[in-house]
């Protein structure tokens, strides 16, 4: 009963890259140097998809995830038949409709009505079939009043909706979707999802390329994780998505570590009195002076260095340094200070900023009633957040040590970056600990497991 709808056997797709010389080649020079044939050969090749063997049973939905450039879209184009595999075989049973670029064939000058017909024919319908579905298409696209206006007058949302409506009404056996769900407002997105669910119910096969991991978990029967053109994992969506998220976290970790190292290096390498510091527009790190507007979020470091911050580390619950933290887990900021002289007037402060530069939280030892007595030699201060109740995103850290009156010893502005990951996609700048309770008259079924404690 269940037959294979999509079958890829050892499929590889190699894109050709030409060396620089090729870009300036003209027909004339090709003819003169008799290299017309050899110029058409690639100097270098780039495998976008490598040795993929995948089969999708009829009626199943396969979600394809992976980082940018991992070959997802190429895979989709191979299945759609838009590009041919370099080696291997692609077999698809049944009519395909590919939602790769919506409204790709629209002509801006002619009306939506005419475009629907032409686009439909391009996608493999006959004129009569389109005629029968026309009202439905227009209804779906919510363009009843504009269908006779030229497409160039449409907003990009209208354009996409019309393209989507035509493609989905081709009534394919195999539907290929490439990250097109962001075409409309919430309502339209829901309508698209409903349409997909309807497709599923009717036993159609769907291949979905997306970055929306929640969608893959909720919607797909199987997930395929691609990495570097290869199949990294395939199987149960929950498991594959979980493994993917973990891997992305690791990569981000490395990236942030590299970024911090760079920012820190350039901040340290310049001595506070070095006049050259002002002449480094690319690295506005060492400003020497505090910026005029303290609330303006520009990176930098300034201060007299009578007390110096020599190291800042972010530690997770196990005390291991890192840059990526799970929401709800503990995080510690460990600040290493050095004071060559004995000082008795100092305040250690911390500020957390989100990616937009908005201060989410700020505090210092003075605010919290710690009265400085003395610091001498190497010292550490640890600032522990028991539960990192923040929404997902990238955050930057201010670390400073200054006098009570504000005179800066060493001020590190936004030099440290970390990322908070969360399975819950809530929004805002802060997540208060919370609970939902419902009376009996309200019933929810919690189909997608949203659990930060996992």
């Amino acid at each position: 009963m269940s037959r294979t709808a999509i079958e890829l056997t050892n499929v590889s797709k190699v894109y050709r890259r030409y060396a620089r010389r090729r870009q300036f080649a003209t027909l004339k020079s090709a003819l003169l140097s008799r290299s017309l044939v050899s110029d058409l050969k690639a100097d270098e090749t780039f495998p976008a998809v490598r040795n993929m063997t995948v089969s999708v049973q009829s009626g199943k939905t396969l979600g394809v995830i992976g980082r940018n450039g991992s070959g997802k879209s190429t895979l989709l184009k191979l299945v759609a038949g838009i590009t041919k595999p370099t080696t291997g075989a692609v077999k698809v049973n049944g009519r395909i409709s590919a939602l790769i670029e919506l409204g790709a064939g629209f002509h801006p000058e002619i009306s939506g009505r005419e475009n629907v017909f032409i686009n439909g024919i391009m996608l493999g319908l006959t004129k009569r079939e389109i005629g029968r579905r026309f009202d439905e298409i227009v209804e779906f696209a919510e363009l009843k009043d504009f269908i006779d206006a030229p497409v160039k007058t449409y907003s990009s949302g209208m354009y996409m909706r019309l393209g989507f409506a035509v493609a989905i009404h081709v009534d394919p056996e195999v539907l290929l979707v490439d990250e097109v769900l962001a075409v409309g407002d919430e309502g339209f997105t829901h309508k698209c999802l409903d349409k997909f669910a309807d497709f599923k119910r009717r036993g159609k096969t769907i291949l979905l390329v997306t970055h929306s991991l929640g969608l893959v978990e909720r919607f797909c029967d199987e997930a395929l994780w691609m990495d570097g053109g290869q199949k990294k994992a395939i199987g149960d969506p929950m498991r594959v998505v979980g493994a993917y998220v973990l891997d992305v976290g690791k990569a981000e970790e490395q990236q942030l570590a590299a970024h911090d190292a760079k920012a820190h290096e350039s901040a340290v390498s310049i001595s506070p009195d070095d006049p050259a510091s002002a002449a480094l527009p690319d690295h506005p790190v060492e400003t020497g002076e505090a910026p005029a507007d303290m609330f303006k979020a520009t990176e930098g470091r300034w201060g007299s260095r009578e007390i110096e911050i020599t190291d800042v580390e972010l530690l997770d619950g196990d005390g291991l340094p890192g840059h990526v933290f799970q929401s709800g887990q503990p995080m510690t900021v460990q600040i290493t200070l050095r004071s060559p002289l004995v000082m008795d007037d100092f305040v250690v402060g911390i500020g957390l900023f989100n990616a937009e530069g908005i201060c989410c939280y700020g505090t210092n030892t003075s605010i919290e009633q710690f009265r400085a007595v003395k610091i001498h030699g190497d010292a550490t201060a640890r600032f522990t957040i028991e539960s990192l109740d923040m929404v997902e995103g990238t955050y930057k850290l201010d670390v400073a040590v200054h006098k009570l009156d504000g005179y800066p010893f060493d001020y590190h502005r936004l030099l440290y970056t970390f990322r908070v990951k969360s399975r819950t996609k809530d929004v805002g700048i802060y997540r208060p600990a919370h609970q939902w309770e419902f009376s009996d008259a309200m019933v929810f079924s919690k189909d997608s497991v949203i659990d930060d404690a996992s």
Partner: protein, 266 residues
């Protein structure tokens, strides 16, 4: 390759609607709209009449009188030919979106270009016909019966060039710039604004003219529509027809070989 050619027949519905779209879109938004298809050749005819009657009157040869009408018989098919080639050379690049994102037989694009220009040629013909009647030129029905044949030969030849150029331009963009100059030269190397008997057949110019495929098309058009007497050029046309078919297959072969590179190059 032959299977792909056969698939083209399946796509005739698409070709038809794309040609219609092309024609509709061209004048959309202009005040006179579709009438431009008639007005353009009419204005062209007026310009040439003016130039060759007042600016630089041509030698008084009773065989090519009225001269503007004679020229018009050659210019109309030439316009079809040259604008098809010019448009076809860019059509795969401008239609890149389709080739990259939709499963779409790419050869449809140059073919649509040729066909929509052919429709414009037909519109122009109606203007020409009106002037032929105005001047009361005698036209024999037997000669007119040959007209579809010459149109067919030109269609095959133009389609061959269009396919070849569209495919090669993807790899060599400079072809487009070369082409417009080449076409200007080609125009003057074809007996359109001068009659073919300006040069004796055995002179070097006459020999050279014979090598130009469009010479034979132009002469046949002129013999059918303008000159009195039998269509003496028929055997040349038939030879050209055979060559055109061969050329079309050659072009299609090249196009087919390069097909898989389009999606990556455009």
């Amino acid at each position: 390759m032959l299977r792909n050619l056969a698939a083209l027949v399946r796509y005739r519905g698409l070709i038809q609607s794309l040609v219609t779209r092309e024609l509709k879109a061209r004048y959309r938004g202009s005040f006179l709209g579709f009438f431009w298809s008639f007005i353009n050749p009419l204005l062209l005819l007026l310009v040439y009449s003016f130039v060759f009657s007042y600016v630089m009157p041509v030698a008084d040869d009773s065989r090519v009188k009225p001269f503007a009408l004679f020229m018009f018989c050659g210019i109309l098919p030439w316009t079809w030919f040259s604008s098809s080639l010019l448009e076809a050379s860019g059509v795969l690049i401008s239609g890149g979106n389709l080739i990259k994102k939709v499963l779409f037989p790419a050869e449809i694009l140059p073919i649509v270009t040729v066909l929509s220009n052919m429709i414009h040629f037909f519109f122009g013909l109606s203007i020409l016909a009106a002037f032929l009647i105005w001047h009361q030129r005698p036209i024999s029905l037997a000669e007119l019966a040959l007209f579809p044949l010459v149109v067919l030969v030109q269609l095959i030849l133009t389609a061959g060039f269009a396919l070849l150029l569209s495919a090669l331009t993807v790899h060599f963009r400079d072809l487009r710039d070369i082409l417009s100059n080449l076409l200007t030269f080609w125009f003057f190397a074809t007996p359109i604004i001068y009659p073919y008997f300006s040069f004796p057949a055995d002179s070097w110019q006459g020999q050279l003219l014979k090598l130009n495929p469009f010479t034979h098309l132009a002469i046949t058009y002129q013999e059918i529509l303008f000159f009195q007497g039998p269509v003496g050029h028929l055997k040349w046309l038939l030879v050209l027809g055979v060559i055109s078919i061969g050329f079309f297959f050659f072009s299609y072969f090249v196009f087919d070989r390069l097909r898989d590179t389009f999606a990556e190059e455009v």
